[in-house]
Symmetry: D3
Subunit: 229 residues, 6 copies
């Protein structure tokens, strides 16, 4: 099984890092190939920046399909271009928001998405409405993570602390029973957060969106099912 | 009041035609300026083609704002780029789907959108969900309009016939009490359709999406209200 | 364009005050005529008092239509008589709750209505359900405004303070991104509130319900659209 | 237990007829007293006519409470005045639409309301939304009953025929599993309809709205529960 | 009228206690007969324990029907076996969750269910979704009641205190306007709680689920209505 | 990876048949072990029969966990016992209805479930409500499949014909864009149905519920995620 992961960035280091992460968790018979974009905004801070990458993403999905890939993942929490590419692609095109919200609905009666910045609340509300899962998403706490600072350090303690506090609030005040993270590719942070929540009496699933997307893509290829647009 | 209408096409004739149409219906103190795109797909058949125009649309909204416009309309039934541009724009950015569905909700307990081709049903369902108006939209009949053939002829009889049949079905079988048209800029067709429905005993509002959008934009400028993203 | 505003009060001073307010904000080609009721309860504290005014309101809408008005506004935040009058009227009949909730939905993903007294929460919940906009209305904070005291003084500082606190709560705790006010006709208060929210980092739309209703009525007359009942 | 039934009519014959009907089905320890209105429109064809009766209905509910009634029923399928009167009354005030839709939800996964005329669809949709039971109400078939003709004859065969056809359509096409009737006070018609549906293989509950309301009122008095407004 | 109450316990004392409680509140012409289970888990702490009792409950409902009962109540807040037994029974089979949530919806615009332990939130969310009343249920506060300790003592002061605090939170923070209790059969506690809430300015209905279920069952027998499955 | 499939039947032949089917489609590193029940009703025609099997199913899930399984599938379209077993199990417990409705939601904007008998409509409506996916499930056509006759013959032509007709109706009249089958374990029938729909112009996903469940279970084990109850 050959899965192409499109990372909406122009930075080669980031692409290599993602390649390694996905390689670690895919099945032994899955071949991962990760590509960045030739041209993308320097920082992806909002839908507007994201929009500028769309033609390049479409181009990459077309290429992936031409090269015989079995599925494509667009690795961006906004599910950027997923609907657009499903129109022409006859292989599964997957995004982390849709996959992770479906997993969270399957695993709990009510879930929270821990956002990185306050604007994410608007963002996730719109996505949850599009997927008709808005009634399951009971909380959108914001962890206010200084994401650049954290990515540069090797230490995810601060990240875990911030997400832990946001998660506790979502669980105790809003009744969340599963946590979807608003960032991805940090398995140590995920297991550390899940452990701390368990120690506090909340043994609930914590979902890393891109890993969940990879597994969902493998599933769909196994089942020979493709999206309808 | 100065309103810029962005028409997602490269064809000058189409832009001129739209300019005239908007001019006819805007308020006497509103100045309309219509622009096309420098670069756009030849035909806009799906979200994928539309996506390729996004950078050009974003560019035009930025330009409109720099030139002192009071509001921008992106004149495409998919509300292409509306959310993206609202992120950076501090003037109203309006799309016909959102404006017309809100008018239809205000004017009736249940509305239908008459689509041009079958794929439109997917499209409008997603938009209605995004606006959280999906429970008001009780019917998505498809008129199967040969839109190119009709645009080339001067005669809208066939168009009106097809839309009349689709509307009657929506009213009688699904309980629709207002009609949103899936195409725009044909005032004769609108009044002709409304007349025929009235003659059949259904005196209900028929909404031309782009005209409705223009009026909503004028309103927002009057009220000095801008979207929050 | 001739628009009749029905103010559900017997006090001439109040009617004159409303007339001046509407005159200030209507379009130059719009003629406003404001009327009170011959007979109304002394205070309008609940639906029960309001109900007693219904026959008089119906009478006034009939009169407005007979006198050639293009639209009627029933200027009461409960949308008193709006549905009833739409049954016989063939001109637009508009109420502030419906118009302002639709504007708020158009301008944000989630809105709050700042109520004057605690009972308003029941009231606005019922209205939001009737308009099927209840999922957009994420917060119903109560400002506990001593409305009589404020109307008698010329100073809206206290009013703005109370609404500011209620709005901040709605924004920070419930994710509201637009504010609908539960009272109307105080443009200075609106702009003052909007300014203070902006200074606190929340540059969001603040909607005065009756002004919004006037603009929506002008729109519908422009578009030659009438409600279906 | 003393229950007052307010019948929104000025016709004494109608009031007497209702008195007899209610007497037949109330519990042995329930005293029914039925009153008409001093002043009401000749025909109640729409909300507008109904609205004119509101002050008189409010007056009657106040009187019922002053006379020591334990509950009041406003016997009109539009639930006319129910919310308004609940504001001042400290005894249960019940309407047939709310009571019957709750029974239908309790007795089936999906119900239909068989309307008398086409306009009823608008009407029942609004009520179902207000009660937040709109997702349970899957069908609003219209029986097109010539209600005056039927009331004048002693024969309900035609009525049953029309309702049978409307019910079958609701069951087979829309999946309805309970029927709420849009008229009331005809026990023979109800049992005849239920029998014919059973003979056709559909052994489902058929609900007479006013009888259901009486029973719900008796319940609430037993439980000493009063509505919150 | 003969109503059988099935109490999912093997303890005779508990069954006798329930028999006396129901006897006190039923109508004079209603005969209550209460039965326990021959075999049940020692404690009913979750759905899993409950599931083990299902065959025994089904057996008891069959027996009740064979013995000529007019209705059956399964007296367990999880509505255990209600849907399953409705499939074969041709008499009403009632559970307290469904009955009490419908009463709460009828009596208020928004209600809370006061749970005994934290896990109840999951439980009640699922039930409210099954009844499609989840939008009415705005709060699921947990009283953390040491239920065994309270049942053993004769004093319900502690119980009322805990429920009072949970109810106040639901009213003031979430807008609840009716309270459904997550336990039953303690009329003194109910009236004491209602009194304390009233003293605090909240004169709202407090619903004892099993008493409400009894009244609803009496109603359905009166109306000769049986559930459709 | 070791997955236990519980088949709610006492017939060894059926269990062996299921074992072979699952073996064919699981991953090469997944070990399937299929078990039947020691005691079950002869025919499983409704929830009532199903309920009688619950204690035996619970027993089997406990056993599976004790024997070191990584996940359990309860292979019954009613998701029988899934919620109950999730309470005590610390491995994933999966049912076909939940898994297949989530796949259908992921793969299309609107799906249909093709039922075997008319009563299935009630059944699937309740399940879709429990999963909060009821707005995605736009159609519940019934194929009226003589399931015993078909299982006994080796020919699935009749089955495919009936499902094809039901699917076409769901697609053309209700806008379904994915089909969930109400039976399972017949891969030839699935691909034959998908082919015929494609030939008719509807290239949409057709989902076999139990195969989908197996893949979802494999996924969850890979991701080390367990349900929260």
């Amino acid at each position: 099984m050959k899965i192409r992961v499109i990372v909406p960035t122009t930075e080669d280091d980031h692409v290599t890092w993602e390649q390694e992460k996905f390689q670690e968790i895919c099945r032994s018979d899955t071949q991962i190939s990760t590509v960045g974009l030739q041209c993308a905004p320097d920082t992806v801070e909002n839908d507007f920046d994201i929009a500028l990458s769309l033609p390049s993403i479409i181009d990459n999905v077309k290429k992936a399909q031409a090269e015989g890939m079995d599925a494509v993942i667009i690795d961006c929490m906004s599910d950027l271009g997923v609907n657009e590419c499903r129109q022409f692609a006859d292989i599964p095109v997957m995004g982390p928001a849709e996959a992770s919200m479906h997993y969270a609905s399957l695993l709990s009666h009510s879930f929270a998405i821990v956002g990185v910045i306050a604007k994410d609340r608007v963002f996730y509300t719109r996505l949850a409405r599009r997927f008709e899962l808005v009634d399951r998403c009971v909380s959108l706490p914001v962890a206010d993570v200084p994401i650049m600072e954290i990515l540069e350090s090797d230490d995810c303690t601060k990240l875990v602390n911030l997400c832990y506090e946001a998660s506790i609030k979502a669980i105790e005040e809003d009744g969340a029973a599963a946590i979807v993270l608003g960032f991805a590719g940090m398995p140590d942070a995920v297991s550390s957060l899940q452990g701390r929540l368990k120690d506090s009496g909340y043994d609930i699933p914590v979902i890393d969106p891109t890993y969940a997307t990879l597994k969902m893509a493998e599933c769909l290829v196994d089942l020979d099912l493709v999206h309808y647009y």
